[in-house]
Symmetry: C2
């Protein structure tokens, strides 16, 4: 609980330059669900209200602010699109992963059943497109549409590599790029687009988001081995249980040549993992340096992200984005 409060405080500081707009995003997210079926409203509000950090809306707003975007109308609407899309994929993800928990609360899937989850995800995605059509900018639409195709491809690639112990770094990076980084990249890019930023700066922000997203996911994958359930809001070792082979594990399976490696491979290849197995694999991965290696790799991407910000004037928005990058490595969320 203390960790959670600390993180909320840090988030408030990081996002202080866009506090007002983020508040408007919250209102818009809710308003966009009004006048529809009560079940849609109930499930969507539950998922939207269950402690999302609003990273994507915040990045879109900060990116716009970086280019001096003042009129909040488009940025707030498009920030809500980024969150609708993110939440839609989370809801569908939970079906795929059979996840019981999401951010410490029962997943929509476990609460209402996958039938409802499929449709509420579809609805949120369709609403997002509707808002984009109202906004009326094809470059913005293209950024988000391309991201969603990639996200579906990334998810499927992840399914295809389920429990695949010889997954390559390249395959893994492709998955996290598609699954996580492209939408973050789109959010950053759209902030620049609506500010009428020059082409190379739009590109710089897309690259910033892509590197940030990859770094973010690498840290996330490390935390799944190293954090506590209280911090994560979901069980530790969750990726293992779901058959996902992530960076820390890939690293150790590559490095280690001891007999323990064969035993771990055997455990991972065979059926359902027991709690004691998960614990053993976690220890194996952390002691073998997998967590450190994943964070080290994350740092490489986050450095690249930070580098993209160097040419910009030293404004509040830039400082906030830099702090966000730095904080990702420190984060416990």
């Amino acid at each position: 609980m203390w960790v959670k409060r600390e993180n909320e405080a840090i988030r408030d500081i990081l996002f202080s330059p866009i506090a007002r707009e983020l508040q408007e995003v919250e209102e818009r997210l809710r308003a966009g669900l009004e006048s529809h079926s009560s079940l849609i409203a109930e499930v969507s509000s539950y998922v939207l209200g269950s402690g999302g950090k609003r990273i994507r809306p915040a990045l879109l707003l900060l990116s716009a602010k970086l280019f001096g975007y003042e009129d909040g109308s488009r940025s707030v609407a498009l920030a809500s699109v980024a969150e609708y899309m993110h939440v839609a994929t989370l809801i569908h993800d939970d079906i795929i992963d059979n996840a019981d928990k999401r951010r410490g609360l029962p997943s929509a899937n476990s609460r209402w059943g996958s039938h409802v989850s499929v449709l509420v995800g579809d609805f949120l995605y369709a609403r997002a497109i509707q808002v984009l059509v109202e906004d009326g900018d094809f470059r913005v639409l293209k950024a988000f549409a391309d991201a969603t195709v990639s996200m579906a491809e990334g998810e499927i690639l992840e399914l295809e590599t389920f429990k695949k112990l010889d997954i390559t770094y390249e395959e893994y990076l492709k998955i996290i790029t598609c699954k996580t980084a492209v939408l973050i990249s789109a959010a950053c890019q759209v902030g620049a687009l609506i500010s009428k930023a020059p082409e190379e700066q739009v590109k710089a922000m897309a690259d910033f988001g892509l590197n940030l997203g990859i770094g973010f996911q690498l840290v996330d994958d490390a935390l799944d081995f190293a954090a506590s359930e209280e911090m994560l809001g979901k069980p530790v070792g969750n990726d293992l249980v779901e058959g996902k082979v992530t960076y820390p594990l890939i690293y150790v399976l590559h490095q280690d040549q001891s007999p323990e490696r064969d035993h771990i491979r055997h455990l991972l290849s065979n059926g359902q993992l027991q709690e004691v197995d998960v614990e053993r694999i976690r220890r194996y991965v952390t002691e073998g340096g997998g967590v450190l290696a994943s964070v080290e790799e994350a740092r490489t991407y986050l450095r690249k992200a930070r580098q993209q910000l160097v040419p910009f004037p030293d404004t509040v928005a830039r400082r906030s984005l830099e702090m966000l990058v730095d904080f990702i490595v420190e984060r416990k969320w």
Copy 2:
């Protein structure tokens, strides 16, 4: 088998004015899946290839032809969008309905699991949006985006009325309008839009499609009681098993006052229906006039659809659309 062949022959005649374009749609549907994950290509090809009648692409193409649209490039691309969207909803539908069969073949859901189905549906929908962005016409995008929001709402409304025996005609009509008619309406409307038809004719085609779609679904619901499994490509009485209360049943439950009615209500309210129960309910509904009433109601909508075509010049496209309307009542598919 004979019925199937007969229907294919009729379809070939109906769609003869757009045979070449429909062939191009097939190629485009396939090409749009290339270069992506092999699993996506496999599952999508399976679903796209399993005997869809391409009603929505055909309506879009015929509608365009009605207004003299000649250059096939946009019409073929947008016709493929209509089919991608339709197939995406079918795939997600099958998860929701736990359907084992679709068009006489195992559903994607039963073959690859709901995990894969969720994502392939998402992928197809995202690809559809991508094609719409490439096409670059906001009115077209709006027509399809609005349709998809309605489709998700309709599906959820259907879930909310699961096994609800006192569902009103209005609720039922809302569901089939959203689930089936709005996409058909969008396809017809888009055919007019790309032909630069005047506003009131775009509206006429949207209305044509809406009435056609409602009529089509009412006939479909009647067939679920009256046809044979061989004709339907899925078990008869499927809607009953899936807890869907459709027009023929609503009608009879409203009309009949006999003790049998209470027995039927009891059967429908309690758990899983046995084969013998389904047969008893089917007989009750057909003998009570539910099937005829549903087809009669369908005729009302189909007459309205036909009426929308009256002002148009007597062209091959118009005759084809009229025959399509007439054929819906006769159809066994």
